[in-house]
């Protein structure tokens, strides 16, 4: 029996010719990631175990993105722990305020992740890099500590679900709508312990931003990873971003999948996930009258330049509803600069949005836009669990930048064509 894309990458990194689903392996890592929340716990474990050196100072990325710029004294202490560790071990890829961006937008932008690589991160959305035909997955702090010490990690080889994409997205429809649609079908545990492998003729109609957004949310279907087949766009991205020499792994013809979904991109409508699970997907025309208090446009899911361009296209010449706070957070410093140069920041500010320095901020209910009891937000983020953005009786509706921007103007969930 053949291997899936994921199985091939795992086999290659475990030094094995072949692996089979269910097999427990130990594999070599190309990169180990941590952030200001997870790295302090990993550092404590690393030091407690008496490890003196990291396996490779260039293959560790420490990104201070969650509670930064430090939201309070405790957060400041956490960052300091990581900063000291980074200095002590001369970690090359340490990103602090002023250089930092939301990790899963930053790493691809910096060319730190590339096709065929195996990456773990102590952050569940590490699965984002599957967009680049890499195997990447979220782990915990202890895995991160072990990875920093040894350059290795244990894995159970997963089975896979295949998504064969055809067709082309319509205007105002993006990768976010596709992945919300898919999670609506699979449920939040539909891909539990499995890979989601994306292939088919429709791939060529998806931008890298669409793919990054879709792979980002694979975890919301319970998946171990989401991975896109390598194509001309992957190659172009890897070249432009100066990725390390990379390898291409294609699925075998006779690879086994537990399920295959055929998805016609042309039929996908703008989709919103209602509280309190990403699987509660409704198309925008099924949403009914849902008033909102806040709109958040940003995060590792939809804080990239293409996302901001779409939001600006909707907001240009319009004004955010007087009942809505609209918060726009470019995901990295580079995206912030581009947004300024392209005049997007002007459009946002003229429309009455608050524009923030890169941070995870409200996405995880950290800071920069917490919700009060009973408030509702539409957000381009990836989770709408109870209390995710603030009070346990607040609500988060997940949507694309187009829908979030249109809703900010309308004061209720809306499609740009309804404005």
């Amino acid at each position: 029996m053949g291997m899936t894309m994921t199985q091939k990458i795992l086999a290659a990194h475990a030094g094995l010719e072949k692996v089979a689903a269910g097999q427990l392996i130990q594999a070599k890592l190309d990169l180990v990631l941590g952030n200001d929340i997870t790295a302090p716990v990993a550092i404590r474990e690393f030091e407690k175990a008496g490890v003196e050196e990291v396996f490779d100072k260039e293959r560790i990325a420490l990104v201070m993105d969650h509670f930064t710029p430090n939201k309070d004294i405790k957060a400041a202490e956490q960052c300091k722990t990581v900063r000291n560790f980074a200095r002590k071990h001369s970690i090359t890829n340490f990103f602090d305020v002023g250089r930092v961006g939301v990790e899963h937008a930053l790493l691809p932008e910096m060319g730190l992740v590339g096709p065929g690589e195996l990456i773990i991160g102590a952050d569940s959305h590490t699965c984002t890099y599957g967009a680049l035909a890499a195997f990447s997955t979220g782990v915990g702090s202890t895995d991160m500590a072990f990875g920093m010490a040894t350059g290795k990690c244990w894995f159970k080889v997963p089975t896979a679900i295949r998504f064969v994409l055809t067709g082309k997205l319509q205007k105002w429809v993006s990768g976010k709508d596709v992945i919300l649609h898919i999670i609506g079908k699979t449920g939040v545990d539909g891909a539990l312990y499995q890979s989601m492998e994306f292939t088919g003729a429709g791939l060529e109609n998806l931008t890298m931003e669409d793919r990054l957004c879709m792979a980002n949310m694979a975890i919301e279907a319970g998946a171990k990873n989401g991975i896109f087949e390598y194509d001309a766009l992957t190659e172009k991205f890897a070249k432009e971003h100066g990725c390390k020499p990379w390898r291409v792994y294609k699925a075998d013809e006779d690879a086994e999948y537990t399920k295959t979904y055929e998805i016609n991109l042309g039929k996908i409508k703008p989709t919103v996930a209602f509280p309190h699970l990403p699987e509660n997907a409704k198309t925008i025309d099924e949403c009914g009258d849902v008033t909102i208090d806040q709109a958040v446009i940003g995060s590792c899911t939809n804080g990239r330049i293409e996302d901001l361009r779409v939001a600006a296209e909707v907001l240009k010449g319009r004004h955010v509803s007087e009942n809505v706070r609209c918060i726009v957070i470019p995901a990295t410093q580079k995206i912030m600069l581009e947004a300024m140069e392209e005049g997007l920041v002007n459009i946002f500010i003229n429309a009455g949005c608050a524009v923030s320095t890169p941070t995870c901020g409200p996405c995880l209910g950290g800071h920069m836009g917490i919700l009060a009891k009973g408030e509702r937000a539409v957000a381009t983020t990836n989770r709408n669990f109870v209390g995710r953005m603030g009070h346990t009786e607040s609500e988060v509706y997940l949507a694309s930048p187009a829908i979030a921007a249109a809703s900010a103007v309308a004061g209720r969930l809306a499609h740009p064509d309804q404005l």
Binding site: L24, V41, A49, H66, A75, G138, A149, W154, V188, G222
Partner: protein, 163 residues
């Protein structure tokens, strides 16, 4: 090895944001994390939990973020084991890596009620419901994972390797 205690029961998709809300993640102090454990789903948890108690969840327990703070807070609260139909994968590996016992058993998750007195044998995977006089067969860990747990967590295997 065994776990003995009363069941504290929850439903499906108990996510890491309710196990330990992100607003408390500005610290990695274990005691402080434990004091907010399950707060957003069960605000009395911290008061009612006794050492040895067993959390029983439904499907996809521990879904959401990779925060190891979640199994750490549960373990530090005195919970001896988590039983669920299925676990979200990052939570599953985190629990193993930090040495929190977990066991998958859909039948147990369906049959056990809040407050039932339970006894779990980790070697065989058998869960005994003393209150109802029933037993359920859970999935015991494969040897590789048992060896991590026997070392007391993943980092200890590193020490064992060095020695």
């Amino acid at each position: 090895m065994n776990a003995n205690g009363k069941a504290i029961k929850y439903g499906d998709n108990v996510d890491t944001d309710v196990i330990i809300p992100a607003r408390y993640l500005n610290t990695s102090d274990i005691k402080e994390l434990a004091s907010h454990c399950m707060e957003d789903i069960d605000k009395d948890f911290h008061e009612k939990v006794n050492s040895g108690d067993i959390i029983v969840g439904g499907r996809n327990f521990g879904c959401g973020s990779s925060r190891e703070h979640a199994p750490i807070a549960i373990k530090e609260s005195g919970i001896s084991c988590v039983v669920a139909s299925t676990f979200a994968r990052i939570f599953y590996r985190n629990a193993i890596n930090i040495g929190l016992a977990i066991i998958e058993c859909p039948r147990a998750s369906e049959k056990i009620s809040d407050g039932d007195q339970l006894s779990i044998n980790f070697d065989t995977g058998v869960i005994t419901n003393i209150t109802r006089g029933e037993t359920y067969q859970g999935v015991p860990f494969p040897p590789f994972i048992q060896s991590i747990i026997a070392s007391g967590g993943l980092m200890n295997t590193l020490k064992d390797q060095k020695e």
